[in-house]
């Protein structure tokens, strides 16, 4: 299947030709690198380092010219969908358009060429930026203080659970369980386990919300807390949140807010006001960091006053004399990142918040919710919502109807949408909805785009009737056609070298 080594492919027809790997393009002796002339004496390595440490043979990497390197990776980008190319209504992921201005901020060498270990006196600008961001995130979430260290949402969750643990332990309280609704994102239960707790799953009621009775039944003195995302992963607001908070607090538990869905509530309601004690935010969903094909992100965790002392350290703070210093809270759980977190992502977030201001952020939420509801309503006859009422920033539709009638599954619809030029919605999540298709249009897509998306879905529903087999085989017009996922797992080839074997 691999091309012969050294074959420099012709350009793909703008995305539609298999691209050799960089190793297949490699030709011994070629290279692209150029380094400074330093004048440092070129002492032979054997005179510097004991022979037993030296490699027997050099590590073989790809050997390509700069020209081939550029050709290769540019061609790969023509085989890749992205927000900049079109709508990406992938529910739970908030694939909105992020202003290029925020990227430009992060490209400033005055920020990105600062060494993380430089003393505070040499990085006052950074410390001020972090302090400012922290206070704005607190204003947004209604919390008292925050750590900016966690590198992503899941890291924030685990940090939050360790804060929960430290808090209970400081109270001499041994607790074993954390409650999680059955609709929760997979990172929640995984984080609970890593936090040293057991998961107790709370079922949803027939409105797609936490079953309050079941919740109360599960509560007890061994419950450390509950993790909720609100709106939940069905895009529905937990309307009984005040009651839930009271019940959990009553048994001495803490409330954790999974803030990946913050886009829905900015300026409308704050986790702190709902009674949450701990909130993580996915800055890469809500605050202007593009996803980068899977990362990086940033998952700051904000807490209520009683948890501030436990926050990870060091934290940037403002000293009384006016300059900024690093300090570690009295009962800190310690570091959760090698340095200060994903600083460049944090900078982007602050720029985004500053551009929007309070009203701008509120508008973000309003329009995110408006767009999701418009789409839900518009598709009512084609793909009905799993729970038919006003949703928040995303809506979970179901393809059961199409499946029962024509044998076309949600996955087929999702793959068919790729042929229409849109990215697919999230499929089969949350797990509690049959044939779930989870759409999150975000506030950055226009009505025209939503209309076009709806029309495509209607076309696909029609095609399900007319040509179900075609849809089973979709997509065909994409850079590659439907991919054999099972084979990849069955016969693992995870490196070029495995491919060669």
């Amino acid at each position: 299947m691999s091309s012969p080594g050294g074959r420099a492919a012709s350009a793909p027809l703008l995305g539609h030709e298999i691209e050799p790997t960089v190793f297949e393009l490699s030709v011994p002796g070629r290279s692209a690198f150029q380094l400074r002339t330093t004048g440092v004496p070129a002492t032979p390595l054997r005179d510097l380092i004991l022979a037993r440490h030296l490699a027997a043979a050099p590590v073989a990497l790809a050997e390509v010219s700069e020209r081939d390197l550029v050709g290769h990776y540019t061609r790969l980008t023509h085989r890749q969908f992205s927000v900049d190319l079109g709508a990406y209504p992938l529910g739970s992921c908030t694939m909105k358009y992020n202003p290029k201005f925020c990227d430009a901020v992060a490209a400033d060498p005055g920020l990105n060429s600062v060494h993380p270990g430089a003393p505070a006196s040499l990085s006052q600008g950074w410390l001020e930026l972090l302090v400012t961001l922290e206070s704005k995130l607190c204003a947004i979430t209604g919390m008292a203080a925050a750590t900016l260290q966690p590198a992503a949402g899941a890291a924030g969750e685990l940090t939050g659970l360790l804060l929960m643990r430290a808090y209970h332990e400081a109270n001499g309280d041994v607790r074993r369980r954390v409650l999680i609704p059955d609709s929760a994102h997979g990172t929640n239960p995984a984080s609970v386990t890593l936090g040293g707790y057991e998961v107790t799953t709370i079922p949803s009621n027939d409105r797609g919300l936490v079953d309050l009775a079941a919740l109360k039944a599960a509560l007890g003195p061994d419950v450390a807390g509950i993790m909720l995302t609100n709106p939940n992963t069905l895009g529905l607001f937990e309307e009984e949140i005040v009651e839930i908070a009271a019940a959990v607090h009553e048994v001495g538990g803490l409330l954790y807010y999974d803030g990946a869905n913050l886009n829905a509530i900015l300026g409308v309601i704050r986790p702190g006001d709902m009674g949450f004690d701990i909130v993580h935010m996915n800055l890469h969903k809500t605050f202007a960091t593009p996803h980068g094909g899977g990362g990086p992100g940033a998952g700051p965790v904000a807490v209520s006053p009683r948890l501030v002392d436990f926050l990870p350290g060091p934290r940037a703070t403002r000293a009384t004399q006016g300059d900024y210093v690093w300090s570690t809270p009295a009962r800190s759980i310690g570091r959760v990142h090698g340095w200060h977190g994903n600083a460049m992502v944090l900078a982007r977030a602050l720029a985004y918040i500053d551009v929007h201001g309070g009203e701008g952020l509120t508008r973000v939420a309003q329009h995110a919710v408006l767009n999701a509801n418009w789409l839900r309503e518009r598709l009512r006859a084609t793909l009905p919502a799993a729970y038919d009422r006003v949703c928040m920033h995303e809506c979970v539709l179901t393809a059961t109807g199409i499946k029962d009638e024509f044998g076309v599954r949600g996955l087929d619809v999702a793959k068919g949408l790729l042929e229409e030029g849109f990215h697919s919605p999230t499929v089969y999540f949350p797990l509690i909805v049959d044939e779930a298709l989870m759409f999150e249009p975000t506030e950055t897509e226009s009505l025209q785009t939503l209309e076009s998306l709806a029309a495509s879905l209607e076309r696909l529903a029609e095609r399900a009737r007319r040509d179900p087999d075609g849809l089973h085989r979709a997509p065909q017009t994409t850079p590659v056609s439907r991919v054999d996922e099972a084979r990849a797992a069955r016969h693992l080839i995870a490196t070029e070298d495995a491919a060669q074997r």
């Binding site: 004496p41 050099p58 790809a62 390197l69 969908f81 927000v83 094909g293 509801n373 790729l418």
Partner: protein, 440 residues
């Protein structure tokens, strides 16, 4: 659009939210500013960072290095298809990212000397935590034995997360810059963790550690510098079961510490316990080569509380960048960088040691970083160097606190100095001249 929903105000969309807890006044934030106005605010942050590279010559390291990143790597890695894509859940339209990750995995596999590498983790420190979790899972044991040569921040992060997992972390003290295994109890260890080079720059013969891991039936985890294999043995050569590393030196800017890049590689035996994503090769329905994320059943979205890790968003863009940077370096450049680092570091080391009052912390070999004991508090000396345009390194005190098992005696007068291929002889000589003046 509101009319279509039968509504007449945006507020109605939120009517089902309990009014008692809804924000009445909006957020307590300043009004929005135009982008150029915000740019002016950020220009002030930027100006206040006296430590930026254009102002100081950088000898700081400890996992974050000032390496050459050419325009071509920046240009390719900032192509918006790489930047604005999500995790490649739909492989039919994500072959660009998937293939780049596949290539990245191959490169990490080769530089670690281990057959399996994942699609990235947050950073070196959190990658270490994943390695400990893997070891605990593989051995069903709780004790992890970590060399004090492992970066103090990494050890701190491991200790933090151990509170949740319940791991018992045992730190191995140093004698003359190498691990003194006899001073700790390694029975029942799930993992033996060493660094190569260690955070003080030292290269330790890993045979003893490997033998120890074998005798304890523990996983042998090597924390490595991803550029070291340009001239040094790989972790795999030393018999590692797991390699973790901080990938920043592979094309990522200093970035005040993030986003960086967690590297993770391991043996085939551990594959079902691998944290995070992995991309595999397969075919499409027309039998053409295609790439896809695979072995997904380990991951949190499927396995939930039984997942190997909770990681979801990782550092893909940095991984893609690293693949491009390593493509730019190639076999030759990769070896050349490591060689030049070693040459520069040794040149400066010798020049500085010639200064009255400066002594070596260890007599062991090193690659591009080394620790020296100064006659005064290191942070004060470093302060004095700033005036001459030099960020002279990092004090061990600033990294590890006042005392650390990695050093006999105080940390306060020990400085850690890194020399990359970007440092010229003129800069090295300038450093030596200024330091000798500062210390005299």
């Amino acid at each position: 659009m509101l009319a279509f929903l039968g509504m007449d105000s945006l507020d109605q969309l939120f009517a089902h939210i309990p009014a008692s807890v809804r924000l009445a006044q909006g957020l307590d934030l300043e009004s929005g500013m135009s982008e150029p106005d915000v740019a002016a605010v950020f220009a002030e942050y930027s100006a206040a960072n006296r430590g930026q590279l254009s102002r100081l010559t950088c000898f700081a390291g400890a996992g974050a290095y000032d390496h050459e990143v050419p325009a071509v790597v920046k240009m390719l890695s900032s192509r918006s298809e790489f930047v604005t894509a999500y995790t490649p859940y739909q492989p039919e339209v994500a072959q660009g990212v998937l293939q780049a990750i596949f290539e990245f995995q191959t490169m990490v596999s080769r530089i670690s000397g281990l057959p399996i590498a994942n699609a990235s983790l947050y950073d070196g420190a959190t990658a270490l935590v994943e390695a400990l979790n893997m070891a605990a899972g593989a051995t069903h044991r709780q004790k992890v034995v970590i060399s004090s040569g492992v970066h103090p921040h990494w050890r701190a992060v491991a200790a933090t997360f151990a509170r949740g997992t319940g791991h018992e972390v045992v730190v191995v003290p140093f004698k003359d810059g190498v691990n003194d295994w006899d001073r700790v109890d390694t029975t029942g260890a799930a993992a033996i963790v060493v660094a190569y080079p260690n955070y003080l720059g030292v290269l330790e013969d890993l045979s003893a550690a490997r033998a120890l891991a074998t005798s304890r039936d523990a996983l042998f985890v090597v924390c490595g510098d991803p550029l070291a294999a340009g001239v040094l043995k790989t972790a795999g050569d030393w018999g590692a079961d797991v390699f973790v590393g901080e990938g920043q030196p592979l094309g990522t800017a200093l970035s005040f510490g993030g986003p960086f890049l967690g590297l993770f590689a391991c043996t085939i035996e551990q594959i079902r316990r691998l944290p995070g994503r992995i991309v595999g090769e397969t075919v499409d329905s027309n039998d053409r080569r295609a790439f896809v994320t695979t072995l997904r059943a380990r991951e949190q979205d499927i396995r939930r509380e039984k997942a190997t890790s909770n990681v979801c968003t990782n550092q893909t863009l940095m991984a893609v960048t690293a693949a491009i940077q390593l493509g730019w370096l190639g076999t030759q450049g990769y070896a050349e960088i490591a060689t030049r680092c070693a040459q520069g570091a040794h040149y400066l080391h010798d020049r500085l040691l010639a200064i009255e009052g400066v002594t070596a912390v260890s007599s062991q070999p090193f690659l591009r970083e080394f620790a020296l004991r100064l006659p005064r508090r290191a942070d004060d000396v470093l302060d004095d160097l700033v005036g001459a345009g030099i960020l002279g390194g990092l004090s061990v005190e600033s990294l590890a606190g006042a005392h650390d098992p990695s050093l006999e005696g105080d940390t306060a007068d020990v400085v850690l100095i890194a020399v990359t291929e970007r440092r010229t002889r003129v800069e090295l000589d300038h450093y030596a001249d200024v330091l000798s003046k500062v210390l005299s």
